[in-house]
Each structure stands twice: as C-alpha cells, then as structure tokens.
Subunit: 481 residues, 2 copies
C-alpha cells in the first residue's frame, strides 16, 4: 500500500521529543493509523505482518510445550468476572459493557473480555475430571478490550491483540514450573527474534496480576531509559480453581483443586520492537522479524537503460530468493534517492543498489540498515553475503540494545543517588524493604516503580534506599511506559 | 485434551434426526463446547485446528492476489454504520451495543462489528488519492458479532470468526472481476481442500448483501438436501464509495469515486465440512484439512509385549512422518477397540493397526475412515500406500458429495412438481419470473428460496413455476440452513 504522505514525512529526532519520534516512526513506516474510535488503532499491513510473524514463531514454540490453540467467546457475563475477588477489583474499572443487543435491553450486561480467565475457567471445570486430564494447556489468539484513558499506538490501546495461555496442573510446583517455562519461551523469543534483551523477574505485590499468586514478567529498556513490561506469566495458585470449582480426582483418589497459570504477549511487543531499534531515519527491523529481508533499487540514469537494469535486478532477486529470503524489487517510477529514503524509513534490513556500472563490474552495492555501511559485493558472492549481513544485523541489534542497557543500569545506595539516577534515565538496582507502602511512597515522589525482582538476583544484605529498613536483595527500579 | 464423556457418546443416526446427528458429531469429535453466553460457542482444539488450516491455505491464496492482511477496530461508532442506507437497514436489527465503558456512560454508543465495511471505508478514503494507489486489497481475520435468535454451533453463532476482504478499484469492471476472482478462490478451496462441491452463482435481490450491487455466493448441498451458503463475494458498486467519499484522481486527472468489493468466509464453513462428510460413526476429515493424517493403534495381547509393539509402532510412525504427514501413536492404557471407536468419531483419515502377528509378517493393517476398508500392507510399501490412500480418500469424499448433489438435483416445470421435489429434499432447477414478490410468495409457502442464479446457467426460455410469467433461465431453489 502506498502511503501518499510518505516522502514528506519528517521524523522528529529522539533527543528532541522521544514520544513524538515514536509516533513519527509509526507513520513513516506505515505501521498503523488512527481510527474513528478513541483509543483504538488500525494495524496497517506493514505493522500486521510483524504480528503475523509473532504468531508464527510463538505457535511453533507453544506446540513444543504441548499447548493447544482454541477460541473462547469475547462476551463475558458480568457475574462471571465477579467470581474471583482480586480479579474483578483489578479489571472492573476498565471494562466495556454491552447492555443492548438485537434491538432489546439484555437481562444481564455482558462485558467485553479484558482477559479470559473467567470465561475459560468456567468451562475448564467440566473438562477436567481426573489427573489423567492434566496438565491442560490452552492458548488463544484474540482481541481484548481495556478502557484506557491515555492511549498510544501499540503500547496502550483500548483494543489490542494478544495471545493468552491458560493451564491447569496437578500441584503448585508443576504450575510454577510451567509459568517459568513460558516466561523462558518469551525471553528467548525476544532475544532470538526481536533482538530485545529481557530482564526476567518477579513482580512486586502491588504490580502483580489481579488474582495471581505470583507474576513473572519480561522487562525491556527502551531508548529513553524507561522500562516496558513486554510479556507476563502468572502463577495463579489455586485462587481461580477455588473460585471456579476446578477440581480433579488425584492418583490417591481424592478430589482436589487444580493449580493454574496464565501468560500473555500482546501487540504491545510491536511497540517495544519499534522503540528498541529504530533511529532518527526510521524503523529498523531485525532480520528474524522482517517479512522483506532485502529491497533492490535499480539505478537508471537514462530511460533506455530501464529494461536491462531492471531485468538484472530481477535476476539478482531470484538468486537471493532461492535461499528463502523475501526480496522486493522496487521498480516504481521515482528517483532512486527517494526510494532509499523510503526503505530506510520502513526498516528493511538490507538495500541493494544496482546501476549500469555495477552491471559492468558484475557487482552490486549492499547497504545495511542498522549501521548504514555500504559495500560493493560481487554478484557471485552475493547470496552468501546476504546471509552474513542478515546474521550480522541480527546480532548487532541485540548487542547494541544490551550495551545500551548495561551502560544505563546503575547500583545506588542512597536516596539522593536514586533520584539523580532517575533524572539520568537509568535502570536502578537498589535495596527496598519489600513493602507496598514504601513502593507507593517512592512512586508518588518519583514516578518510578519496582519493575521486577530479577530471577538472577543474588542475596545481598542491605538497607532500603527510602526507609533504611533491612533488605535481602537489590531490585530493579525504573520509570515505565 | 481428553474428552471424558467421549466413549459413552451416542451418535443419533442421520436418518433419525439430522439436526441432533450434527450436534452429536460435534460432541463426539470434541470440536466445540457450549459457553455460558447464549449463542456463543467455544471452539475446542480439534475444531480450532480446522480453522487454522483454513487460515493457512487462504492466506497463501490471497497473497497470490496481492491481498494484504491488516486489523481494524471491532468497535464502530453507531453513526458510521448509518452512513450507507441499505447497509444499516440490513444490520441494525442484529447489532450488539456498548453503552458503558471505563465506569461511565459513553457519549455515543459503539456497536460491535457485524462486518467491517463502515470502519474500513471511513479510513480508506484517506489512504487513496490517485489511481496509483489502486487497487487496494485488504483482508482481516477477525471475530464479528451478529445477534442471532436461533443458533447452532459453527453454522450460526452470535460471535463467529471469519476473514473479510475489502478492495477498491478504478472502475466497475475491475471490481466485478475481483469479486469473481475471489469467489473462484473460495470455490477452489472448497473443492481441493474441504472436498465440498460448490455451486457458484448470483444471489437474488432479496438475498443479496445489504449495500451490495451484486452478491456472488458459494452454495453447497448438505446431506439433508438443504443448501448451505458457505462463502460470499460482493460487488459493492460505488454505493459505499459515495457514502464514505472514497474518491481518487484518475489518469485523466478527474476526481472520481472508487468501485469496491468485499468477500468473506467464516467458521460456518467448518459446519459445512462436518455436515458434508460425516457419517453415523462420527466425523470424517478430508486429508487436505486434517491436522492428524494417520493414527497408529498398537494391539497388545499381553502386557509383556507392550514395549516391543509400541517401539515398532513408533518406528512405523517415523517412516510416515518423513513424508510430511502428521502421525499420532495412541499408547494410552485402553483397549484397542475403544481406541478404534474414538478415532473413528474424530475422523482421522487413516488408522493403522499393528499387533504381534503384523510384526511377525513385517506388515500392518490400514483402515480407511471414509469407506471402512481394511487391508494388510507390507511395511516396506507403507509410506507409498499412505500417500495413495490419502489421495484416494480426498478424491472419494469430493466425488461422493458430487454424486449426492447430482442425484438430488432435479429440473421441474410445474408448481406441483416443485412442491414434491422439496418434500423429497431436492435442489430444484426451475424457472422463476425474477421478482422479489414471487420469491417471497414461494418462500412463505414452502420455506424454499432462490439459492443462486448459477454462473454456468444457460439461456432457456420458460415460464415461472409460480406465476407463469416469462423467464430466461432456470435458477436453483432449495431450503437452506
């Protein structure tokens, strides 16, 4: 789809206005559009292809863990949501309610799913009878609605797309192991495909999922030093099982409650992808996420050269396609400089330029999107070179993001250092007394929250930076999106 | 997922109660479940895997036609729906309305999409400026809500899943060609994958899509002789373009309206698949739609033989998997007869039985789900035999359905013959005067409607079976699901 506004788009530099830069990138790369409904966005083909890639990769991973896809209704009777106390408290303020349908008022209002624990667990109880039915592992790809006040494309929208996995296990240990396994699936997906380094950890009490025993999360650092919670996995304990009466006959022939998990990753991850790698020229797509790996731009000084140069470009494209890469040859009637500019904005990993001189030398020029490096490549070496470059780009993006995070993470031991570090836009490793009260005081004063208690944190005696009370380990504080 | 109720399930014979038979098949094959919300079903993993297959195949086909996937909001401002007169008239009675969200009453009610013409076309007008932006071809996979009074799993549910394609073209001829191309994509999909023979034709005025200039449809005959409208493709003319102001600068530098199409296929097609091929023993899955092609059931007369027989079964499975087929080895602790019964109900195309005698003879027994035919197969020939059998099943299912339709389609020339043919549960080729009035009289009296005016119908002078007025061609009448 041609974005007519494309070429004129100006991208605000990150340093000037990070928030505007993010919106400019989305527009420049034609990823999404605003819709006539407040807070709901349209995911355009360039954006949606990223989501399709997420689905493709995660479906394969989930299958390895014996997860089965299914689909549950998006309408939930209001009374079901109310069944688990902490859950309804967390979600009631953001639900949208259907009160009328088919021309009449409904007897009972229906809510649009903000998440599907309640509607799923209401039937899980009929699907599970004995330990032989366990573990039950169900996933669905769906749209959910959460009424948000301040919205931003991909990062926080009233309607968003996600996958939500829901499992039932025979005991708490197996449920917790499952929650951590799925967390590891996400962590690996972000590292290997999205090239986003992840901090995995446990959420504090006040930041955990409404109804969970324990929430694990994937936290990523964006280029403004803020954290993005980019996927979560919950150990639900037996909270929902008790509320929904999910029982089974165990091997000892006793009726006992099941133990559950839920875990999700949404289109918010696309927002994280955009914010992690893009630069002031536009979007940068990690090769493992790209639907177009290479764009070929023919350089045509004289109209009479058009046919032969484009023919060569097409034959070069075919060579590369044989390796399984997607290659686009841009034959539009535009100046090649404009095309370079456009494909840079759209983030295609490699641009290949081919003109009359290149054809004479039986070579092309390859340009990396991540570094901008240009180099001539002999056509006979091109296929191998494309593989090498794509791998190098993928590795570089992850390494660059890791370095950025390392450089911007500090350990602090005093409240003054803490405030200074926040002003410097750092992730902060600090001692905290572990109470929600102290967390709230810190949040009210600085807007920073405990992002997570890292899974790899080491025991270390210390005192809380705010209250001076004893602490056993450092946690990660940061402002967040 | 184990269906505990599985083995006890009784399947009502088709001849006794077709409607109950259909529900029994869904339960026996564990395809769907009822939900706590009236009219909304849960698509269980066995059912959802069929939908995933639909998505996989159609996405590939759509791509060949340069269709791009995107995603639009499911909430639509009420005023947008009202923009096109015929459209709102058709859909207003079945919409569900969100009146409250985020704890407050909304200023303007939002409806849940019953289809997405309005929300898409409201932004298409901003995406299209000149003929260079055309054709625009967008598809989305989404859930839609239509408040239905009488619902039936897959066939008619309040919420259903579908794909909806929406295109804009430079002129009417190109739009009509696109609508027919996509109709052909559906027709081919049903024939080649679902093994469902399709009648393609044009809908009568009273049966066409609300807002369309012309509706093309795919009609299939179910085993009760009723028709199922299983996919539609609409030439929207410039009706919506005028209502939504979709204009572009043509090559002559004039601002003109675009010409549009929309086309959709839903989870209803799964209902059609179930009803076309299943028998009184259970579901029958065409191999091209199956996620499991072969199930291997080890026969273990004595416990001490279990290990060696299952080992052999696994090695046979590996042999077949090399060819790209999905093979399941059923090692559950159950009698093999129960397993046969269960896999028959679930419709897996080929069952392979392997016991001690088979191992001695270096052979297995292969059983076709469609015909029940059993034959011994030497293991060294098994891989080729599986391919042969799967192809044979696929061909047989389509041929069987074709024969059924041919045998149950009649040409009639009088009103008495017409009524008799309906009682005999036939598709009827008859002359009709082409008016909505006559169609309504016939429908009120017999419940039969014009299913379509076949695209391959030949000109033939005749007189309407009801009014005696002149007619140019025969059309297809039938009762429908």
């Amino acid at each position: 789809m041609t974005d007519q506004k494309g070429f004129e788009n100006k991208i605000t530099p990150r340093s000037e206005d990070y928030s505007q830069w993010y919106l400019d990138i989305i527009k420049a790369a034609d990823l999404a559009d605003y819709s006539p409904v407040k807070g709901c966005m349209i995911i355009k083909p360039n954006g949606y292809s990223l989501w399709e890639r997420v689905q493709e990769v995660l479906n394969k991973e989930f299958k390895k863990h014996q997860v089965q896809n299914a689909y549950f209704p998006m309408l939930i009777p209001e009374k079901l949501l109310k069944r688990e106390e902490a859950h309804v408290e967390g979600f009631a303020p953001e639900v949208a309610v259907v009160t009328h349908a088919g021309g009449a008022k409904l007897d009972e209002p229906l809510i649009l799913r903000p998440t599907s624990e309640t509607i799923m667990y209401e039937v899980f109880k009929d699907w599970i009878h004995s330990y032989r039915d366990l573990p039950l592992k169900i996933n669905q790809w769906a749209n959910v609605i959460r009424w948000e006040m301040r919205t931003k494309p991909f990062l926080r929208t009233t309607e968003f797309l996600w996958q939500e996995g829901h499992t039932v296990h025979k005991d708490e240990a197996e449920a917790d192991a499952c929650a951590r396994e799925m967390l590891a699936v996400y962590e690996k997906f972000f590292a290997d495909y999205m090239a986003i380094p992840i901090l995995v950890g446990v959420k504090s009490e006040s930041e955990k999922f409404a109804g969970a025993l324990r929430t694990y999360s994937c936290e990523a650092m964006m280029q403004d030093g803020k954290a993005l919670q980019i996927a979560t996995s919950h150990n639900l304990g037996d909270n929902f099982a008790k509320a929904f009466d999910i029982k089974f006959l165990n091997e000892q022939n006793e009726m006992v409650y099941g133990w559950q998990t839920s875990w999700g990753l949404s289109t918010r991850s696309i927002g994280g992808l955009i914010m992690t790698h893009s630069d002031d020229k536009g979007f940068v797509i990690p090769p493992m996420m790209a639907s177009t790996h290479v764009v070929i731009v023919p350089i045509i000084p004289k109209p009479e050269q058009k046919e032969s140069i484009e023919e060569k470009a097409q034959s070069v494209a075919e060579l590369i396609r044989v390796k399984g890469y997607n290659v686009h040859v841009d034959t539009r009637d535009m100046r090649h400089g404009e095309k370079y500019f456009e494909w840079e904005k759209k983030g295609v990993p490699i641009r290949i330029e081919i003109g009359p001189k290149d054809i004479e030398n039986n070579s092309v020029v390859a340009v990396r999107r991540d570094t901008g490096e240009k180099e001539p490549v002999a056509i006979e070496q091109l296929v191998d070179k494309v593989t090498v470059l794509l791998n190098a780009i993928q590795v570089n993006l992850l390494e660059r993001a890791k370095s950025m995070r390392t450089e911007n993470t500090v350990s602090v031991d005093t409240w003054d250092e803490f405030k200074q570090a926040l002003e410097d836009k750092k992730f902060i490793l600090a001692h905290w007394d572990g109470t929600s009260e102290t967390e709230k005081i810190i949040k009210d004063e600085t807007a920073a929250t405990v992002r997570c208690i890292p899974l790899d944190s080491v025991d270390e005696e210390g005192v809380c930076i705010k209250t001076g009370k004893p602490s056993q380990r450092r946690v990660i504080f940061a402002k967040s999106h």
